[in-house]
């Protein structure tokens, strides 16, 4: 079976950051592989190691900068990568449907049996692309999977979905399917030196919308970010000042006041 893993390079804001227009200043952003996608990559690589998956392909919508992140996924064991970018993505904020249109074209070309992706992206936090993609391409799906057992012969994925409040739902999902992966599903590996060397020789196929038979109109977004601001602090916390010793001393008083002691 072929597994397609959707991978996003996400931006994380520094502790101190400035907002320029409707985004955080580029100089105050650090880029990394989305944490949830790291678990999705690991799940796919484990399926390959178990002899269930014959090929693991990653797909990313992202600029050239994202190739460093994609290489990390390749170093961990993905076989090859597709990266889609286009001027059309430079303007504005791609909504879920725009991403789905792009991924749909990649799914058509790759014809996977299983699509894995993170539950959400750490930066935008929509948590919607995987399920919307499943609907578009006619796959079954399950969101927020934290346990996965693929029975390829039966064409079923036995999954646990992590519900709120410490309850897991056990569900059988017919393949082909899109599963969105929750953190904690597995233990993502670190890339080995050998893996990193091998990743340098693996293919990252860069495509623009035209290569996928799409136009800018296909990825037109229905959403526009019109402002970004730091939320007003609702804090009425008493901030305890002083060096570590002084602060700890004052906090100890507070704790004793509350009756805390061993």
């Amino acid at each position: 079976m072929k597994v397609l893993v959707t991978v996003k390079e996400v931006a994380e804001a520094d502790d101190d950051f400035a907002i320029e227009g409707t985004d955080i200043a580029a100089s105050d952003l650090e880029y990394d592989l989305n944490e949830w996608d790291d678990y999705a990559v690991e799940a796919a690589v484990q399926l390959a190691e178990a002899g269930i998956a014959d090929e693991v392909v990653t797909v990313t919508i992202g600029p050239e900068r994202a190739e460093e992140t994609i290489r990390m996924a390749l170093a961990k064991g993905a076989d090859r990568a597709v990266r889609v970018w286009d001027d059309a993505f430079e303007e504005g904020f791609a909504d879920v449907a725009a991403k789905v249109s792009t991924l749909e074209a990649v799914v058509e070309a790759e014809d996977p049996d299983l699509v894995l992706g993170g539950v959400q992206a750490a930066d935008t936090g929509f948590g919607a692309t995987g399920v919307a993609l499943a609907e578009r391409i006619g796959f079954e799906h399950a969101a927020v999977v934290n346990d996965l057992d693929v029975d390829a012969d039966a064409g079923v994925a036995h999954v646990h979905r992590e519900l709120e409040g410490g309850v897991e739902e056990l569900t059988d999902v017919d393949l082909p399917a899109v599963l969105t992966v929750q953190t904690g599903l597995n233990e993502p590996r670190y890339a080995s030196l050998r893996g990193i060397r091998q990743a340098q020789r693996k293919e990252i196929d860069a495509k623009d919308l035209g290569d996928l038979g799409l136009t800018a109109e296909d990825v037109e977004s229905a959403l526009a970010i019109t402002s970004m601001y730091e939320p007003e602090s609702e804090s009425d916390a008493e901030i305890i000042e002083g060096d570590a010793g002084e602060a700890a001393g004052r906090l100890a008083e507070v704790l004793r006041d509350k009756g805390v002691s061993a």
Binding site: E135, E168, V254, S261
Partner: protein, 315 residues
């Protein structure tokens, strides 16, 4: 004028609080658009649920009695049928694990714009949604094209709807395709030796502890204070502490007398599990960390310096 359709949520025979919060959000949007508020309740004991959902401000309740538990295919088909037979322009669903298992499919199927995890909105000729980005470090306003949409609303942001309404209740038959996803059961996780929900004092550790071997430090603090050790999600994901120690939306909800958050930034999922604590104390290097928004006392500082000093105070 446009109506709003709120989708209720239930699990194992109980309506979840997010249903009533979504009703409040839906009513707010319906008011802004001069429309009616419809509520859909799908699967399970829908008649009993309908009675509970008949809160002030609800105009119509539609019951779809297919199946017992959540099945996204049933939900999607039922919502599509209700969009066809009502004038609802916007679907409002809880931004829950199950909400995110059907709302994106509904939006995709109907060709509607989708905004998830809304913390607020305004409607003034068009919909503008307030939501966070970059791990709650910023808020954004998002303008949504068109006058029909799908919106998921964050839990705890709207007050639950109260009172008794005079909604009409109508049972709806929906033809369903055979579902390719079948729920076979549920599992409670996080059992074991310790119930952190019983503790009076919790020392809770987060990502700021950096390495597994550093856990000794907070274990030492918990010992010195006679407290129980709990954790935020990343610590449990890493396998450094068992699942029964996890505080938050997917772990335990705790309400101790004193909650000491050590190296926890205060992501919304974590806060949902501990905001009811009597006294919240936060130790974190980042003065902008959201944990300080709900803390009663805060130390902006390095836990590796502060915690040993605090242990000494109680030695």
């Amino acid at each position: 004028m446009a109506d709003v359709l709120v989708v209720a949520e239930h699990r194992r025979g109980e309506l979840r609080d997010v249903s009533y919060e979504a009703i409040t959000a839906g009513r707010e949007l319906a008011d802004a658009r001069g429309g009616e508020l419809h509520v859909a309740v799908i699967a399970g004991d829908v008649d009993a649920f309908a009675e509970d959902l008949n809160r002030e401000g609800v105009d119509a309740i539609h019951t779809v009695g297919n199946g017992e538990e959540f099945d996204h295919n049933v939900y999607q088909a039922a919502i599509a049928a209700l969009l066809d037979r009502t004038d609802a322009a916007t679907v409002v669903a809880p931004n829950s694990v199950n909400g995110l298992d059907y709302a994106p499919a509904v939006a995709e199927d109907r060709g509607l714009p989708l905004v998830t995890d809304a913390t607020g909105f305004e409607y003034d000729g068009g919909l503008t949604v307030v939501r966070e980005m970059y791990g709650s470090k910023v808020e954004t306003t998002v303008d949504v094209d068109g006058d029909r949409h799908v919106l998921t609303v964050r839990g705890g942001e709207w007050a639950p709807a109260e009172g008794v309404g005079d909604a009409t209740v109508e049972s709806v038959e929906v033809d369903l395709p055979e579902s390719g996803a079948r729920v076979t059961g549920f599992e409670e996780v996080g059992g074991g030796d310790v119930d952190i929900a019983d503790a009076d004092v919790l020392v809770s550790v987060g990502r700021g502890i950096e390495e597994e071997e550093n856990l000794e430090l907070v274990e030492g603090l918990a010992d010195a204070l006679g407290a129980t050790l709990s954790a935020s999600r990343p610590i449990v994901d890493n396998g450094w502490l068992p699942k029964n120690r996890q505080v938050g939306q997917s772990g335990k909800v705790v309400t101790p007398d004193v909650y000491i958050a050590v190296g926890i930034s205060g992501a919304v999922q974590h806060v949902a599990g501990m905001k009811g604590s009597d006294t919240i104390i936060a130790i974190n290097t980042d003065p902008n960390a959201p944990i300080f928004d709900i803390a009663d006392y805060g130390i902006v500082g390095n836990l590796f310096e502060v915690v040993p000093e605090l242990v000494d105070e109680f030695a």
